[in-house]
């Protein structure tokens, strides 16, 4: 604490240089070193699995599936990061997921059809179901958050209780039945060939993302210029823009390189009267809806964390709760809001999973809390609070899923997979705290 701070700012043209400034390429680019490290770790992991599986890992098919399987955990991790940053924990999210899965299942398969006399796939039902599901999750999160923030029961205890309560409630709702089938339109939210954007729309999304990214870079630069702040060299901004755009383009290209399964494409061709070419009809799948949802939520949550007062308060509370209170921040309300968000995100995950499965089953989400906490922690979120990023958490979710998918591909059984995941978790956090100790 008393050591002189290491100057992390890039050297600035025209700024007096009092002390020698040590710079690296990464600090000039102004990117998060930890995040880059994780991307590198993920790349190493992917390449290693590709070798071990004789080239079956880095295929469009496998990567597309990986993206869909990561989506639900990634959605929940964005909320868990904020919870952990504010020095709390939520162990109930798996059970909230299970409970809201039952709610959305029953709503569309039984309650709405029975009450209004509508068929299962009545237009618009899915929207109502999704909104109500999210509301239920938010209310559950709000209840728990209220007890934690305003009554002062530790979050570990409240959400451990919640874990039992909502799992039990899920059983009570449908006496343990499996609710299936679900609304065909609703099912699209779970992904699959039809639940994807297709080639053209995927490229449109990529284009929008790239343009938004570029505009963001330019606006940020202009704003800093206007205030007379030091700005990154132009080449650094351009490099970041190009790397970002390339990543987006490659991701979409891979998603489009995964064609619909032949029999499905054939069915589609017959239905729509399209002649089937000799090599079979190739329909690019593109970005799956759940992946689009997860990306959208990650962007929104990053915005909330970095650009809104609420996010700033969450981080301040995590850094020094006493200081936050003395600064006049309503810490209780802020904490309660994080749990409301977490509940809502858990039910969005419930929607994705039930839609993908085309059923609401009793055990949905069992153990999800541990996966999500592990993803957040692997993604650089400190359990001591105050530190963690949404992007890191999402990367953590992808790393966890890559481990599981990769090990399945090379024939590691489930029990051993769990053991490896456990070791990776400990090693990742150990490495991270070693890095932190060295740096400060």
């Amino acid at each position: 604490m008393t050591t002189q701070a290491e100057p992390i700012e890039a050297p600035l043209a025209g700024e007096p240089r009092g002390e020698p400034v040590r710079t690296s390429l990464l600090s000039t680019l102004g990117v998060d070193v930890r995040l880059v490290g994780m991307v590198v770790a993920l790349a190493v992991l992917w390449i290693a699995f590709n070798f071990l599986s004789d080239g079956r890992f880095l295929t469009p098919r496998n990567l597309w599936n990986l993206s869909v399987q990561s989506a639900a955990v990634a959605v929940m991790t964005t909320g868990m990061v904020l919870i952990i940053v504010s020095r709390n924990i939520d162990l109930s999210i798996g059970s909230i997921l299970g409970f809201t899965a039952m709610i959305v299942g029953l709503l569309q398969a039984e309650w709405i059809p029975d009450l209004l006399g509508l068929p299962l796939n009545a237009p618009g039902t899915w929207i109502v179901v999704v909104i109500l599901g999210i509301l239920v999750g938010a209310v559950i999160g709000g209840l728990q958050g209220f007890v934690i923030a305003f009554i002062g029961v530790p979050s570990f205890v409240v959400t451990l209780g919640g874990l039992l309560i909502w799992r039990g409630a899920a059983f009570a709702l449908a006496s343990g039945r499996t609710i299936a089938p679900l609304d065909p339109t609703y099912q699209l939210l779970g992904g699959g060939p039809q639940g994807s954007l297709g080639a053209t729309l995927s490229w449109v999304v990529a284009g929008i993302a790239i343009v938004a990214f570029a505009i963001g870079l330019v606006l940020n630069r202009r704003r800093r210029r206007r205030y007379g702040f030091p700005v990154r060299p132009v080449w650094a901004d351009v490099t970041i823009g190009i790397i970002g755009s390339l990543l987006v383009a490659v991701a979409v290209w891979i998603a489009n390189a995964y064609p619909w399964p032949p029999n499905l494409a054939e069915e589609y061709a017959i239905e729509n009267g399209i002649p089937i070419p000799p090599g079979g009809l190739i329909i690019p799948t593109g970005i799956a809806y759940p992946v689009l949802i997860a990306i959208g939520i990650a962007v929104l949550m990053t915005f909330i964390a970095k650009r809104r007062r609420f996010g700033r308060y969450v981080y301040s509370i995590g850094g020094n709760p006493e200081a936050a209170i003395l600064a006049g921040i309503n810490t209780r309300r802020t904490i309660m809001k994080t749990f409301i968000l977490m509940g809502a995100l858990s039910s969005i995950a419930a929607v994705i999973i039930t839609a993908r499965l085309n059923a609401s089953t009793l055990a949905l989400g069992t153990g999800a809390e541990l996966q999500v906490i592990a993803a957040a922690v692997i993604g650089g979120t400190s359990l001591a609070g105050g530190i963690g990023t949404i992007a890191g958490g999402v990367l953590g979710a992808v790393i966890m899923q890559s481990l599981s998918t990769g090990m399945t591909l090379i024939g590691v059984d489930n029990a051993q997979q769990d053991m490896v995941a456990g070791v990776v978790l400990i090693v990742a956090v150990g490495f991270d705290s070693w890095l932190r100790r060295r740096r400060v």
Binding site: M1, P7, E9, Y227, R309, R312, G318, N320, A323
Partner: protein, 271 residues
């Protein structure tokens, strides 16, 4: 010590004091941490608040800063009775506090700390980090021109730099009443000198300052009047020019006003 001429405190009668705390009482589970204490502060005046550990200085001041509202007693600002039940209330009255612990969120940068709880936002309600950084650079340029680490979490700053962030926070929002709780406790000699200059500057601008310190020399150099506390009671308030350091020391240790201290007791202290 400094070139600035101290502003004469307004004499009672002509204008009400800037701050008047009357019969303040704060209890923690039956123990009176502050028991029936009255102090006041005029514009452009520094009142030193001294006493040993557990004398109740910090508790008294936390009643004024809104961190811990008093159980009994009244607070007047400019002669008007006010109710301060939260740090927000205190800030709205122009009371800024620099806590001994500095009360910084260690994981965010200087600008985020400066504006903690009153962030500048754009028209759409998003944080205007550029505007906040600009204001921070401006105020830091005045207080500590060597400060350059605007983008790093304050945890990685030195003690003096952290102190300047905490002081900048109070200065930027144009405090009328400034509470400084042990402002030089964690500082080296050069930084201490900086803080002393700053106190004189602020005083010259007509700001009233409560200075809490256990360093009797600090207090004698900076304060106009000195209020001494002892085990929750106010021993007395004295004019700095009319007492010696030894007399104040006696008040702190024995808990009696100078005239009640016996020769023998005095001898023990000086010894």
């Amino acid at each position: 010590m400094t070139a600035t001429e101290p502003v004469k405190p307004a004499t009672s009668g002509s204008r009400p004091p800037l701050v008047e705390m009357r019969n303040i009482r704060v209890s923690f589970g039956g123990v009176h941490a502050v028991d029936d204490v009255s102090v006041d502060l005029h514009a452009g005046e520094v009142v030193g608040l001294v006493g040993g550990n557990g004398a109740g200085k910090s508790t008294l001041i936390r009643a004024l800063s809104g961190a811990h509202p008093p159980d009994e007693g009244e607070i007047y600002i400019d002669g008007e009775k006010v109710s301060i039940s939260s740090p927000q209330d205190a800030r709205n009255l122009g009371i800024e506090t620099i806590y001994q612990t500095l009360a910084l969120a260690d994981n965010v940068d200087a600008a985020a700390n400066l504006f903690l709880g009153r962030e500048l936002t754009t028209r759409l309600g998003s944080l205007d980090d550029a505007a906040m950084e600009s204001a921070t650079r401006e105020v830091m340029g005045r207080l500590n021109p060597k400060f350059k680490n605007f983008k790093v979490p304050v945890a990685s700053l030195s003690g003096g730099q952290r102190q300047s962030v905490a002081i900048a926070r109070a200065v930027h929002f144009n405090a009328r009443i400034l509470i400084m709780d042990e402002p030089t406790a964690a500082l080296g000699p050069a930084e201490t000198e900086q803080v002393r200059d700053l106190v004189s500057q602020l005083k010259a601008q007509g700001i009233g300052i409560f200075l809490i310190s256990h360093d009797i020399h600090d207090v004698f150099d900076l304060a106009d009047r000195i209020s001494v506390m002892h085990t929750g009671d106010l021993v007395g308030t004295v004019d700095k020019d009319k007492v010696t350091k030894d007399e104040v020391l006696a008040m702190i240790i024995i808990g009696k006003p100078p005239e009640q201290v016996s020769e023998k007791e005095m001898a023990q202290i000086i010894h």
